[in-house]
């Protein structure tokens, strides 16, 4: 981890005894109390804390919901209703878990968008970024399997459609895709067998995510945090200790975000879901218009935009796997888009494309919706494969400040600006 002088001094006899045997408190102090944090990070840097909060919330509510849930085709639907109506505070726990998933994705999209805008994937943070993409993929798998558990019509047909994605492999090796799909299902169609194994994996994967989050933070603390200028911490005045500066900011942002969370939990618990999911799963009837949860809509639009089954599936998966390669696709000399006058426009085009794809994913695959979905899908891929490599070379970045301190205090380097924080003592 990044080397800095820790101010940890064990005071009590027990802390001294433990420090000589397992210096865990020393490590926590070095990583989360006096860890040097760039003094200029903005509120977008609070999303990591938010995500940790929601991961813990999902695990805590999930563990107690599993005490009342029955993962069988006959009982699953009714056991969720039982949780909502009969179990003490079951309504609250279920709402927190269901809405929490949406909040988790909202926070992760802001987190990823921040990384893309400020070039947080660029050297030396490639491994940090790649671990993040893997966490994102696992989050999607976990959310997808969790959505199957209420065993409503949307649950059932979402599982059918998404697992069938693998049957597209039939067009490469005949029979391979079908075998994989039947292996996933444990039968010739989605059934209670499928539900039970999804429940098992839905319980497992969050703990895998916890482990990867540990690695993510480790990699982060080796390279140090990025910041809006994209410059590294060079002198003591470029940084402040994580506690209380960044921690206070995290707590304030979390409080605001939790207000939004609570608003949905208490007033609109079903708003982000779909009415058809309150009809029990029926393998003989597909709802007239099936859509995934809002956080999967852009990928769903990409899938449907391409009129060939295998290519549609490949496009959908590569739209996320492409993220793994952007540390090398981005050829720019500067990290932060703040200093990239040309790329800035392309970045916002990309954001608009993703939001537009999300809208189009919620619409039926007919008429002009298909055409627009194709246009935005094309830009999604062009952005990474063409714009990133070319604009990085051709554009002239605007002058960078010489240091993080200069970007905050101006060229004089003295703490004179209104609201400028004083440089911390001892640094």
């Amino acid at each position: 981890m990044a080397s800095h002088e820790s101010t940890y001094r064990p005071t009590s006899a027990f802390a001294k005894w433990l420090d000589a045997r397992l210096p865990i408190l020393r490590m926590m102090h070095a990583q989360f109390v006096d860890f040097p944090t760039p003094r200029n990070i903005n509120y977008l840097w609070t999303t990591g804390g938010l995500l940790t909060f929601f991961l813990v919330t999902q695990i805590a509510t999930g563990i107690v919901l599993a005490m009342h849930y029955a993962p069988t085709a006959a009982d699953a639907f009714n056991s969720v209703e039982h949780i909502r109506r009969d179990v003490n505070y079951g309504w609250l726990l279920r709402n927190m878990h269901a809405v929490g998933a949406s909040m988790f994705f909202l926070a992760v999209y802001i987190h990823i968008g921040r990384g893309l805008y400020y070039g947080s994937y660029k050297a030396p943070r490639e491994v940090l970024w790649i671990i993040g993409v893997v966490i994102f993929l696992l989050m999607m798998a976990t959310a997808f399997m969790g959505y199957s558990l209420p065993w409503g019509q949307m649950s059932f047909w979402a599982v059918t459609v998404i697992t069938n994605l693998f049957s597209s492999l039939d067009s490469i090796i005949p029979g391979l895709g079908t075998r994989i799909v039947q292996w996933l299902w444990g039968g010739y169609s989605v059934s209670g067998t499928t539900l039970t194994r999804f429940f098992s994996l839905h319980y497992l994967l969050p703990f895998v995510i916890v482990g990867l989050v540990g690695l993510h933070i480790w990699a982060l603390h080796v390279a140090g945090q990025n910041n809006p200028t994209g410059l590294e911490i060079k002198t003591a005045s470029d940084s402040v200790p994580m506690s209380p500066h960044a921690v206070a900011k995290d707590i304030f942002a979390l409080s605001v975000f939790v207000l939004l969370f609570a608003w949905f939990v208490f007033y609109l618990p079903d708003y982000l879901g779909h009415a058809d999911n309150y009809i029990e799963a029926n393998p003989l009837s597909t709802p007239p218009h099936i859509v995934p949860e809002w956080y999967f809509l852009p990928y769903y639009a990409i899938l449907r935009a391409i009129p060939n089954k295998l290519l549609g599936v490949i496009a959908m998966f590569s739209s996320i796997l492409l993220l793994l390669f952007i540390p090398w696709l981005d050829t720019s000399r500067v990290r932060s888009t703040k200093y990239r006058p040309v790329y800035k426009w392309f970045f916002w085009m990309f954001v608009i494309s993703v939001i537009a794809l999300g809208y189009l994913g919620s619409k039926p695959p007919e008429g002009s919706y298909v055409l627009w979905a194709r246009l935005f899908t094309a830009y999604y891929f062009l952005h990474f494969l063409v714009v990133m490599p070319i604009v990085g070379v051709t554009e002239n970045p605007t002058p960078l400040p010489r240091s993080i301190t200069e970007s905050v205090l101006g060229k004089s380097g003295h703490a004179v600006g209104v609201g400028a924080p004083a440089a911390p003592e001892r640094r």
Partner: protein
């Protein structure tokens, strides 16, 4: 000193008995680990009770011309449509060159059979079309079984999930689905009764 240097250069050039034992032991452990993993993977495949092939009999006498019924076979919906003579004629008159998937996809016929209407029905019973009612794109159930449903641009079935259009012979004509709807193995046990499976 000389001997040690000799030994070092010797081991760098030629593998000795110990290297062989190490590699063999590692290979053995690797194969053993892979074999031990197999039950954990294979347990997810369809189990014996699921595999037990069920066959069902369906009475066709109540189904009037123009009507269709859906029955469940191996957990999958099977479409049985009593086609009108115009529907049969449209299906028969369709040229093979207009089809997306040129193969019949009839479990009772060889794999390379062309997708003519005759190859997807039983001779003398062309007005009956029996198919697994699962869209070959991503597994939704296409619309078109009830009279009020949208039947798509080709008068057969329309999958609402991703917009695949099937014709009156259940062949894919437009949209993302790659294959014609599958015809399950079935036979007429009497004039108005079929056995599927």
């Amino acid at each position: 000193m000389q001997r040690e240097a000799d030994l070092a250069s010797h081991t760098a050039e030629e593998p000795n008995r110990r290297d062989f034992i190490v590699v063999a032991a590692q290979a053995f452990a690797g194969v053993g680990a892979a074999l031990a993993l197999w039950p954990f993977i294979s347990q997810m495949n369809p189990d014996a009770s699921t595999q037990a092939l069920a066959s069902i009999e369906v009475d066709l006498s109540p189904v009037r011309e123009g009507q269709a019924i859906t029955v469940s076979w191996r957990g999958k919906p099977v479409f049985v449509r009593h086609r009108t003579s115009e529907e049969v004629k449209t299906a028969v008159d369709t040229r093979l060159s207009d089809l997306v998937d040129p193969l019949a996809r009839n479990d009772a016929k060889p794999e390379k059979t062309p997708a003519t209407d005759a190859n997807r029905t039983v001779k003398g019973k062309e007005n009956w079309l029996v198919m697994v009612g699962i869209c070959t794109h991503l597994g939704c159930i296409p619309k078109g079984q009830s009279l009020s449903d949208s039947r798509g641009d080709f008068g057969g079935w329309f999958c609402p999930c991703h917009g695949s259009h099937y014709d009156t012979s259940g062949r894919i004509r437009k949209g993302p689905a790659p294959r014609n709807l599958e015809v399950p193995p079935y036979e007429f046990v009497s004039d108005s009764k079929i056995k599927i499976g």
